[in-house]
């Protein structure tokens, strides 16, 4: 059970230690999900271009002027505006992503400006080939713009749901457990509501040598340990 603490898992977690001495874990987003987000953004932009062109085409010189200015803004400032407003362009938001600095702080104007201007370079020679290459070659899935701006794209977790442990009779575990083992027991209890009855029994029976029980009784026994571990005797 102590495997977790010995060998680092291959994962898309990026850790950053803050001034408060704790580690923030950022779940990095890979190329595929970012490509999806970009496609959504592109679609929105094409629609915007179409709307702008349709509205201003009949307004003569001033219309042309406004149209070109809006084209310019959509081309260069569309992602920047949204990133400053809530950390993600609509496409990214739809995919549950957001952009932050690699030290966990929110994105600033300067870094958003850099990462979005450098899109031009990332896009070369076609469809973000350079950006993809860069993402595959570094640990944090950063394209060139991200590297220069010091930003990463992460999954924006929604608030995790807390599950109450089932109320059962508390039992003291018959053997001394290491902290990791204790945690695994609690993790099992927390996962129980998501598991089918058969799977619960199957997992609990694996610890038959500790509980000396089988079937539903073994599950009850383990839940009892977990309750004792989290809430104590009384």
């Amino acid at each position: 059970m102590s495997v977790n603490s010995l060998t680092p898992l291959t994962d898309t977690l990026s850790e950053h230690e803050t001034p408060e001495g704790i580690r923030l874990e950022l779940r990095l987003a890979g190329p595929i999900v970012r490509a999806c987000a970009w496609s959504i953004d592109m679609l929105i932009r094409v629609i915007l271009y179409g709307l702008v062109a349709a509205v201003f085409a009949f307004w003569g010189g001033i219309g042309t002027s406004l149209m070109l200015i809006l084209f310019f803004l959509i081309e260069w400032f569309y992602p920047l505006l949204f990133e400053l407003y809530n950390g993600a362009s609509p496409g990214k938001k739809a995919m549950g992503l957001r952009v932050i600095h690699d030290n966990g702080t929110p994105i600033t104007f300067a870094s958003s400006f850099i990462r979005n201007l450098l899109r031009t370079a990332d896009f070369l020679p076609f469809l973000y080939a350079t950006g993809l290459l860069s993402m595959l070659m570094n640990r944090k899935f950063q394209r060139l713009g991200d590297l220069a701006a010091g930003t990463v794209v992460i999954y924006h977790d929604n608030k995790p749901e807390r599950i109450q442990l089932p109320e059962v009779e508390r039992r003291r575990p018959p053997v001394d457990l290491s902290v990791d083992e204790q945690r695994e027991l609690i993790r099992f209890a927390e996962r129980c509501p998501q598991l089918s009855r058969d799977r619960q029994i199957e997992l609990a029976t694996l610890l038959g040598s500790v509980t000396a029980k089988r079937g539903v009784a073994a599950v009850e026994e383990l839940l009892g340990y977990a309750a004792w571990l989290t809430r104590g005797d009384r």
Binding site: T18, E20, G21, I22, L24, E25, G60, G61, I62, T64, S65, L66, M67, L68, I69, F71, F72, E75, W76, Y85, N86, I100, G104, T105, P106, T108, A110, S111, F113, I114, L117, L118, R119, T120, A121, T130, N138, L144, G145, L147, A148, A149, G150, D157, K159, P160, R162, I163, V179, D180, Q182, R183, I186, R187, A189, E190, L229, T230, R231, G232
Partner: protein, 327 residues
């Protein structure tokens, strides 16, 4: 301490912090710039609880919930707040000219990379009016000639000049010229090669056109037209180039930094330059659309141009110099 006790004891604190964060996260543009007075303290306590819950191996769900709260707190605590207008004004009055002076080496290199091909191509085109065809297509050359023909009623335009076309060209100059500036900068990340090529190419074409049209004897139309916005536009392109070169320098010669850190550092320092260049190109687009094409006598145009050049140079040399020795 058992997990249940721990949770019961600190839940009020977490809920309070959660409330404050919710307030800060909602309607960003409307709320006042201040943080609640006890937010930093609550946040640091929360960090402590998060570390404890990890080391005591409390349940993964509790740890995750606390981590989520920590991440939100971190985002709010280390956010820079408000004073947009003030920062913008102080950027124009101090930060931009200062950072240009600080990086004048890059500016000098970019200037040479732009000016040298411009002068060479210009000189060559002045004497040999077929050389321009090696730089541009025949259609483009014809368009140029039409725009600046001395008998033209539509100076600098392929459209009929009117208030309408002024506005249209304003939009076009913004779309086109600022885009060129931004691209010149962005290509710097490709080890500076992209920036060097862009500067060189722009130098060749601009110099070539100027030389060619002067050679044809269109001086009376061409030079008054371009003189007005030349100061801001050409300088801004060179400044974008300087910003691109800075990023390229980070890629090529990171010095005492790791390459990635060097790129980040150089890009951060280049931001004021490229932002300033963007603003200059915006102003240049305005001048080019509404002033350069106007029917003012050439003397007036040349005078205005001289004033613009002079004040721009004074701005870059003197603006933002502090009494405390800031350069």
């Amino acid at each position: 301490m058992k997990q249940a006790q721990f949770e019961a004891r600190y839940q009020p604190l977490w809920s309070r912090l959660d409330e404050q964060l919710k307030q800060l996260e909602s309607f960003r543009f409307r709320h006042r710039a201040e943080l609640p007075a006890d937010l930093p303290q609550l946040y640091r306590q929360l960090c402590n609880h998060y570390a404890l819950s990890q080391s005591r191996r409390y349940s993964p769900q509790l740890v995750e919930a606390l981590h989520h709260l920590v991440l939100r707190g971190h985002q709010q605590l280390y956010r820079r707040r408000g004073a947009w207008l003030w920062r913008f004004l102080s950027f124009i009055s101090c930060d931009f000219p200062r950072s240009l002076r600080l990086n004048r080496g890059y500016f000098a290199v970019a200037l040479v990379l732009f000016l040298l091909p411009a002068l060479l191509a210009g000189g060559y085109c002045l004497h040999d009016d077929s050389f321009i065809y090696s730089l541009m297509s025949e259609a483009e050359v014809t368009k140029m000639e039409q725009m600046y023909r001395p008998d033209t009623a539509r100076l600098g335009r392929t459209l009929e000049r009117s208030a309408d076309s002024d506005f249209a060209m304003f939009g076009f100059y913004i779309y086109n010229n600022i885009g060129i500036g931004f691209r010149t900068f962005a290509m710097g990340i490709l080890a500076g090669v992209g920036t060097v090529l862009t500067l060189f190419y722009n130098g060749l074409v601009i110099g070539g056109v100027a030389g060619y049209l002067t050679g044809l004897g269109y001086s009376e139309t061409f030079w008054p037209f371009v003189s007005g916005h030349s100061s801001l536009e050409l300088t801004a392109i060179v400044i974008s180039g300087a910003a691109g070169l800075m990023v390229g320098r980070g890629v090529l010669c990171p010095g005492r930094y790791r390459r990635l850190d060097a790129i980040k550092r150089q890009a951060g320092r280049a931001v004021p330059l490229i932002m300033g260049a963007g603003l200059m190109l915006l102003a240049a687009a305005f001048i080019e659309a509404f002033w350069s094409a106007s029917q003012m006598p050439n003397v007036v145009k040349y005078t205005v141009s001289a004033i613009l050049w002079f004040s721009m140079i004074v701005y870059f040399v003197y603006a933002g110099r502090g009494t405390s020795g800031t350069r």
